[in-house]
């Protein structure tokens, strides 16, 4: 081996051939001469060279099979777990585990992973990428990818002997034989490559750094909205203006002649609080108007009715007094209805009328404290003129619905049945202020008395505590 007297390592010997046939016959001769560490380099796959060189078949198909089976399993487990166990919901009536529907994805993943197996497995088995190869040191070897065929015998072969191999190769008709030596070309990568590489890395880090900076710093500027109309929907909110309609209101009233669902199921009595049958006798035109306003949802009629009522109020005998009101709450009054009424009263009425109905709600307290000049104090529910015999249920209902003096009508905010529930609750409220223990049923008496005693004890305890606290505060201050 050292006969060549070249200081660099010798890897082996290569011979160049110009035709496939000469290469193949040379391969056979080398094989028959007993060399095993041999290889051929060709510009295209040569059929039969594996036999001529004694190359063993590859395990690649098994790698693919295993990778493919893994893909199938991953896909099936993933789909079943995601759609049938972790996040269950029924789509188009299909069962949670719909195998036919899972097959397409299972198939695709099988193919994908098997292809990865074939692709990456092949490169791994071939030991590529490997950018440096002693074969590349010979400039003539550049034609191995063009039109020349090379046969190579490795120096580590047991039978390797430089002269013997050279003679054998020469004998096969090769016209170029050379030793393959260690690559002595400069190892370092040219500087511009590093420069470009460095610039590319730096550039690729810029967006990342920007994002990280934004994540950790605070800014007084408002957020930048890329998709403005997605962050701020162009759809209008309640009470906003719009240029789309002549009246500039974005909220639209019902289309004339239409009634919203659930709004025409009740009788006119219940809708108005008026005993319509009696009114028919006294004021038929008004009944007609009411029918148009309430049953046919005619806004004009509603406006006419309002005008008529307002006009008549000034007259000596107010229309409020002459109207035959419904005397009795049309809903069945029970604990449930009262609870409903209490809830609605607390929401809508108590702000002015107070939770107890004495007319001293928070709004009134505030109005009094600032001496609001136009403020009309809300009525107390506990005056006799408002008791059922003087102020029938229907009238109370009408007041809630249409308003009185400064109080606006609540028909738009409170649902029909809720208004009647408030009427029932107000009656209960009125009764509660001067009720005697006789009204309480025998069975409840003990409980009520106990509750009263508890309440009194609690009040007393609170008063004592407040006293003690005041005393203690005094002491600490002094």
């Amino acid at each position: 081996m050292s006969e060549t007297k070249i200081e660099t390592t010798v890897h082996g010997m290569m011979a160049e051939f110009t035709t496939v046939d000469s290469l193949l016959s040379a391969c056979r001769r080398i094989r028959d001469a007993g060399y095993t560490k041999t290889d051929a380099y060709t510009p295209f796959p040569v059929h039969g060279i594996d036999k001529a060189l004694g190359i063993k078949p590859t395990a690649l198909p098994w790698i693919c099979l295993i990778a493919g089976a893994t893909g199938t399993c991953i896909a099936l487990v993933m789909q079943i777990w995601m759609n049938s166990i972790d996040y269950k919901y029924i789509i188009s009536g299909k069962p949670y585990i719909s195998l036919p529907a899972f097959i397409p994805v299972a198939f695709e993943l099988t193919i994908l992973l098997a292809s990865f197996g074939a692709f990456f497995g092949m490169w791994a088995l071939n030991g590529l990428p490997k950018f440096s190869n002693p074969m590349f040191t010979d400039p003539r070897f550049d034609r191995a990818t063009d039109d020349r065929f090379f046969l190579y015998v490795d120096a580590s072969d047991e039978r390797y002997d430089a002269n013997g191999v050279r003679n054998l190769l020469a004998d096969t008709g090769s016209d170029y034989i050379n030793e393959v030596v260690e690559d002595d070309s400069p190892k370092e990568v040219p500087k511009p490559v590093f420069l470009i590489w460095g610039l590319a890395v730096a550039a690729s880090l810029v967006p990342l750094i920007c994002i990280l900076t934004m994540r950790v710093t605070n800014s007084s500027k408002p957020r930048f909205h890329v998709f403005f109309d997605m962050d701020f929907s162009p759809a209008k909110d309640a009470q906003q203006v719009t240029s789309l309609f002549a009246d500039n209101r974005s909220m639209r009233s019902d289309v004339p002649g239409t009634v919203a669902r659930g709004q025409m199921e009740e009788s006119l009595d219940m809708l108005t609080g008026i005993d319509v049958e009696a009114l028919t006798m006294s004021d038929p035109p008004r009944v007609q108007r009411l029918v148009r306003a309430y049953m046919l949802a005619d806004d004009e009629a509603k406006a006419e009715e309002k005008e008529a009522v307002e006009a008549a109020e000034a007259a000596p005998a107010s229309v409020m007094d002459t109207t035959p009101w419904v005397e009795k709450n049309p809903l069945t009054v029970d604990a449930e209805l009262l609870a409903q009424g209490q809830q609605q009263f607390a929401i809508y009425c108590s702000v002015c009328h107070g939770m107890d109905g004495y007319g001293n709600g928070l709004v009134n307290q505030r109005a009094q404290s600032i001496n609001a000049p136009t403020w009309v104090p809300p009525a107390s529910m506990h005056q006799e003129t408002l008791y059922a015999d003087k102020y029938p249920d229907g009238k109370l209902f009408s007041t809630i619905s249409n308003g009185i003096r400064k109080m606006p009508g609540y028909a738009g905010q409170i649902k029909l049945k809720d208004r009647w529930a408030i009427v029932a609750y107000v009656r209960a409220l009125q009764k509660s202020q001067n009720a005697s223990m006789d009204l309480v049923p025998e069975s409840e008496k003990a409980a009520v008395e106990a509750a009263v005693a508890d309440a009194k004890a609690e009040l007393k305890r609170q008063a004592e505590e407040a006293e003690k606290a005041a005393a203690a505060r005094k002491q600490t201050q002094s």
Partner: protein, 425 residues
């Protein structure tokens, strides 16, 4: 490139190209035995027919008929496509396919019972029953429209057209190939190639409609545009199996010892594997679309194949028609062993019967009451098997007869040499 010069083609009179005597002697036993088995099977099948399964007898016959017919048509298509693509590798096995292909002529005679059955009301196809529409409470106008297609005279005309096309193609390609054995003229190959394009088109069109007529119209209210492709997929798979199996038997008996090599089995094996996948693809797509769409007029067909024993057959088809042979024929080591390929070919020929049985037999039940379809008990199963075995044996007997009168390889085909020296990649 190879080490040795390619072997020369043997002369046309070489004994390797003749049907071996051992097979020649089987002709009459197979013909006789097949006919007897078919007749006994038919007799038993008609005995099984009862109120629950009024059409069992004719359905068993149709199953056997469609089984053999799909294989014969598959072989016809095989021959046409080899000419169309100027294939070289397949020449050594082409004559086997041609012998099967020419069986379309006896199949036309075996079709006669089915042809007559449409004139006997409700004997095989329920649409021949004049009461059918009223039994199922169908819309009259719709049924009138359907009857424009599903009526006995038009059915007969169509059947004549199909057999006319197939017979003409089979005879033309048979004559061309056999005559070339004597004359050896290259122009014969050119002519056959020239006509193969239109031939394939005529074939696909007629096969599609034949499948609609003889398979799909068993359930007259059901429809699937893919049904023709489905029948084709099963047939072409079985055809490759029959070619493999018969070639193997020929070699075992002593013919074609040197001409057919593991390379050819390897290639046939690849096609068998490929068509197993194709069949699965087609049948899965058909099931999937109907299952997913879930429209009553379409799901009906699969419902009657989920009832009773047919539910097990449906699952069985997935396992035995796809899973097992898929992995069985996947490896090249299997495909390169003639014995193994012959086994898988025989195996698939069995499951192909299950496929056809599964298509036809559930429709033998009473349609209007939606009874659960059954197999007709042990006797019914035996009858169905006897019918198909009988008809297949009969046809194999005829194949041997035809092969005995000719050579078992197109001896003067210009591409024969290419086929003999053929090697896979």
């Amino acid at each position: 490139m190879s080490e040795h010069a390619a072997p020369a083609v043997k002369p046309a009179d070489d004994p390797a190209f003749q049907l071996p005597a051992s097979l020649r002697g089987l002709q009459m036993p197979l013909l006789g035995g097949g006919l007897v088995a078919l007749l006994i099977g038919m007799g038993m099948a008609f005995a099984v027919s009862d109120a629950d399964m009024p059409r069992f007898g004719m359905s068993a016959y149709l199953t056997a008929f469609l089984y053999v017919l799909t294989i014969v048509l598959g072989c016809l298509f095989f021959v046409l496509i080899q000419h169309l693509v100027r294939a070289g590798w397949s020449v050594v096995v082409r004559r086997v396919a041609e012998c099967m292909m020419i069986m379309i002529v006896p199949m036309a005679f075996l079709f006669l019972p089915i042809l007559f059955s449409v004139f006997s009301e409700g004997a095989l196809f329920v649409w021949t029953d004049p009461e059918f529409a009223s039994k199922l409470h169908l819309d009259d106008k719709m049924w009138e429209n359907k009857k424009l297609f599903l009526n006995a005279p038009f059915f007969v005309i169509r059947a004549l057209i199909y057999f006319g096309i197939w017979g003409a193609l089979a005879v033309y390609y048979w004559r061309g190939s056999v005559n070339q054995d004597e004359t050896g003229e290259r122009a014969a190959t050119d002519r056959m190639q020239y006509w193969s394009g239109p031939a394939v088109m005529a074939f696909s069109l007629s096969l599609t409609f034949a499948a609609f007529d003889w398979g799909m119209s068993l359930a007259p209210m059901w429809f699937s545009t893919m049904f023709g492709v489905y029948i084709f997929a099963g047939g072409i798979l079985a055809a490759h199996c029959v070619i493999t199996l018969l070639t193997y038997l020929l070699q075992r008996a002593g013919a074609l010892k040197e001409e057919v090599t593991p390379e050819h089995y390897h290639d046939l094996g690849k096609y068998i594997f490929g068509f197993i996948v194709f069949w699965t693809y087609i049948s899965f797509s058909q099931y999937m679309l109907i299952w997913y769409g879930n429209i009553p007029e379409e799901t009906e067909w699969f419902y009657s194949r989920q009832d009773g024993g047919f539910g097990y057959l449906s699952i069985g088809l997935i396992i035995f028609h796809w899973l097992i042979p898929f992995f069985g024929t996947m490896s090249r080591h299997v495909r390169r062993r003639p014995g193994m390929m012959a086994f898988w070919a025989a195996y698939i020929l069995v499951v192909h019967f299950i496929d056809i049985y599964w298509i036809v037999m559930p429709e033998a039940r009473v349609v209007e009451t939606h009874t659960v379809p059954g197999f007709g008990g042990p006797l019914g199963i035996l009858a169905s098997l006897l019918c198909v075995v009988g008809m297949s044996t009969l046809v194999i007997g005829l194949v041997l007869r035809v092969a005995g009168g000719n050579r078992v390889v197109p001896v003067r085909d210009p591409r024969l040499r290419e086929s003999i020296i053929f090697e896979n990649i």
